[in-house]
Subunit: 485 residues, 2 copies
């Protein structure tokens, strides 16, 4: 890569600021981080910066502003929308927050934990557990995802039904803004009405207006009871009825309500060597129900759930049900749910869509959208599974058996995605429920987003990042030539 | 008032748009609304507009943009910071949302209610109750406060400990922006990560970047059980210890934890004709505890709370306690709490401050701040009462007995407020916990706010309201001459 005079001067200043440990231009050091973990997006960068403190981040961002160097912030590089991957111009600096991985304080009494951005989610879980607390957000990538990335993308996961997304966990936040100034909002104030809630603006902004450097997160008392159930259902509309029934009966203890169609479960059972079906017979739809409580023990919670499910069965709301008799069996049920994507990959190419519609409309959406896609794109198979309780499913479309991997995704696959996003938008839903916009969906967002909302986003972006150096090409759709006139 | 040519042309166009019912320039019609309900702020306006629909609001705001007419939106005129009162230039139009008072839908199954901005809080409470639901936010002004105003100021109240402020209740939001475009975010999506969360930006923005016209609010199942307790305590630090104890023991059912010092209770007992002290003897501090449950009935909840308080007494965490034996007695306890301000008014002038610090630090703050104020301003008396569970108290300073009402507030009173806000800021707290900035605190916010946060607020305001016509003079501190150079 050729480096121009301006970049050379910037790199000199950055090296002076960050030292040898904090800056590298070595290709071998850069390569693991310039491609996203799924290998879908690839780019290049003039250097990888790894500051050790918020002050170093601030000074580096100030340098970037002075030298007009674009910045791509990165946490665990486990995002789903290419939001942490630089473009291929090779003009950006990759700013890793991974060195800033200290838990600064953990106060069980107050239920608060202050973390630097680079703390890995699983590390936080373990630290909280040691103090008989828990951090109520989890997801598949917990072993690599960082707190900063999770906040910047407002991550979801499997406990959102009860505890909300990352936004609901953030009590305070510190970020470095485009001019290198530090927004210091770490103090947790339960009530604070001093003007616009800037913290909320920064959460989910994917590094486009500020770089999250630390957060104050809420903790809950550790759960003492857990009950997990696998349910056989005749239909997806029946799943919604059961959801409402269980919500009323289990109240606050209901933490997750996931749905899995029969063929997804079959693929998983084929894929996992020693997996067994939870129920004696197959059912058109399955629901996975998770309850947690800090008040009851597992035996009491299971008994309560058993009574509720027995009532549901009597009312004709389900076909069959089994409650996990111990933690191991709970994990077995969740392993079936969590293996869907891996099992699907073994079947060939697929287009994956993380979408939401209002909870009440999700069954009808699934029933309408799957045949519409399958009819429009013959040979494909539509699959919807996931967080019914949040109105959020992963809507996957599997390629026909004769599709050529790599080629299909770029041709028919792209048309399918556009079609899915069109449908979701018609249903008043979101083309990104929990993964963010990143670079993956920025085009579709520009095409389908409400022009008024897009206008606000562009205005706020221009106001807070006037030079356009903060994670360029992500989240904020460009104005098309026809519009800008 | 003299009207210039531009204003005359605007009023003609506005009258054509809104009709006779929707626009008045009659002084008698305007007077009730150009002064805030406490009579602290007064201004004038060229007209009072009362549009009947979101489209009419949008068209009116567009007209205002075309004719450069400042807009002051207003709901129930029950705000605490003068945010809905025009300045005295007489150039603004007062935009009342009160005619838009329809509950558009109320879905008990989904737990959602779509309201126009002018719906009065108490009306919403009653509508929800009819369907065995409840809206979990309440406050003293519920008989006049409108949903639009409550959202625009992110109102709090007495159930924030458990249910959060207004921000936590809003599932979707519609607003008219400065250019007259309509931001349509009414659809409730539990997960939606399409860029910045603009809804969050509009909540609490006090009409300075958009006018809330409708919201989609969450409802909860009606509470079937209620238990209220009045507690006698030796100290405010003891109140915090009891709070943590009760939080752990009562879990999700704890909805309110209010504190009242002895002399506040005495004033209330003097002020209310037939009030009786809840406990046999006086205590230095009192706590009012409220528990609600949708699962247990009142008898069961009272029994549980009784056991918890008996344990606390054994552990030496309280001096005395009484649990309300019925709804009537619960209301009696709350009436004592809610009469503090009225009782205080009978004692003479006082400066009132709605402030917050981190929950854990509130006792120490109170213990430090009261003597500091009383020593600096001899003859005054510092009083702190309210939402200890939210780290938010109403910090009032009563005038010396010889103070001249009206005069004292403008001289010493103002100095006292500055001093209180200085202290709060030193403690990392907020000069507005739940009342907003409005015009009342805009100067102190400019003086004490974090310059980085103020810079962001000014940039966002300028980006979304480039002509500066949206509720000018509220929330956004002007840049001082010394800064702007």
């Amino acid at each position: 890569m050729t480096i121009n005079q301006n970049q050379k001067a910037f790199l000199g200043a950055a090296r002076e600021l960050l030292g040898e440990k904090g800056l590298t231009c070595d290709e071998d050091d850069l390569i693991p981080w310039t491609t996203d973990w799924r290998g879908r997006y690839s780019g290049s960068a003039i250097a990888l910066a790894s500051p050790a403190s918020t002050d170093e981040v601030a000074a580096l961002v100030k340098l970037c502003a002075d030298y007009s160097i674009p910045i791509v912030p990165q946490g665990g590089n486990s995002g789903m929308a290419g939001g942490a991957t630089p473009d291929d111009s090779g003009t950006s600096i990759l700013l890793s927050l991974r060195r800033m991985n200290a838990i600064l304080s953990l106060d069980a009494e107050a239920g608060q934990c202050v973390c630097q951005a680079g703390v890995i989610l699983q590390t936080l879980h373990e630290a909280a557990e040691k103090l008989d607390q828990r951090f109520p957000l989890t997801l598949g990538g917990k072993g690599s995802a960082t707190i900063g990335g999770l906040v910047s993308t407002n991550a979801g996961g499997t406990q959102v039904l009860r505890h909300g997304t990352m936004r609901s966990q953030v009590l305070g936040l510190e970020a470095v803004l485009a001019d290198g100034s530090i927004f210091n909002g770490l103090t947790a104030l339960k009530k604070d009405n001093r003007g616009f809630d800037l913290k909320q603006l920064l959460i989910g902004s994917e590094g486009t207006i500020g770089i999250v450097t630390a957060v104050n997160l809420r903790l809950l008392p550790a759960a003492s009871g857990r009950a997990t159930a696998w349910i056989g259902l005749p239909s997806i509309t029946g799943a919604r009825t059961l959801l409402r029934y269980v919500e009323r009966a289990m109240g606050e203890s209901l933490e997750g309500f996931e749905v899995v169609p029969d063929h997804c479960l079959e693929s998983v059972l084929d894929h996992l060597a020693d997996a067994r079906p939870p129920l004696a017979q197959g059912h058109k739809w399955n629901a996975l129900i998770e309850c947690m409580s800090a008040d009851s023990d597992s035996a009491a919670l299971r008994e309560k759930l058993e009574g509720v499910l027995a009532g549901a069965m009597e009312a004709g709301l389900l076909e069959d049900a089994v409650i996990a008799s111990n933690e191991y069996q709970s994990e077995t049920f969740w392993n079936l749910r969590d293996s869907i994507s891996a099992a699907e990959r073994a079947l060939g190419p697929a287009m994956q869509h993380d979408i939401s519609v209002p909870v009440e409309q999700m069954p009808e959406f699934i029933l309408a959208a799957i045949p519409q896609i399958e009819n429009t794109f013959p040979g494909t198979r539509g699959v919807a599974f996931g967080h019914l309780g949040d109105g959020n499913v992963h809507f996957h479309v599997l390629a026909p058996q004769d599709a050529v991997p790599g080629e299909w995704e770029e041709s028919t696959g792209k048309q399918i995605s556009s079609h899915v996003y069109d449908l979701v938008t018609q249903w008043g839903g979101s083309i990104s429920a929990e993964h963010g916009i990143g670079q993956m969906k920025v085009g579709d967002f520009g095409r389908l987003g409400d022009p008024v909302a897009l206008g606000m986003i562009r205005s706020v972006k221009a106001a807070l990042d006037p030079k356009g150096l903060m994670n360029p090409g992500k989240l904020v759709p460009l104005i098309e030539a026809s519009e800008s006139g």
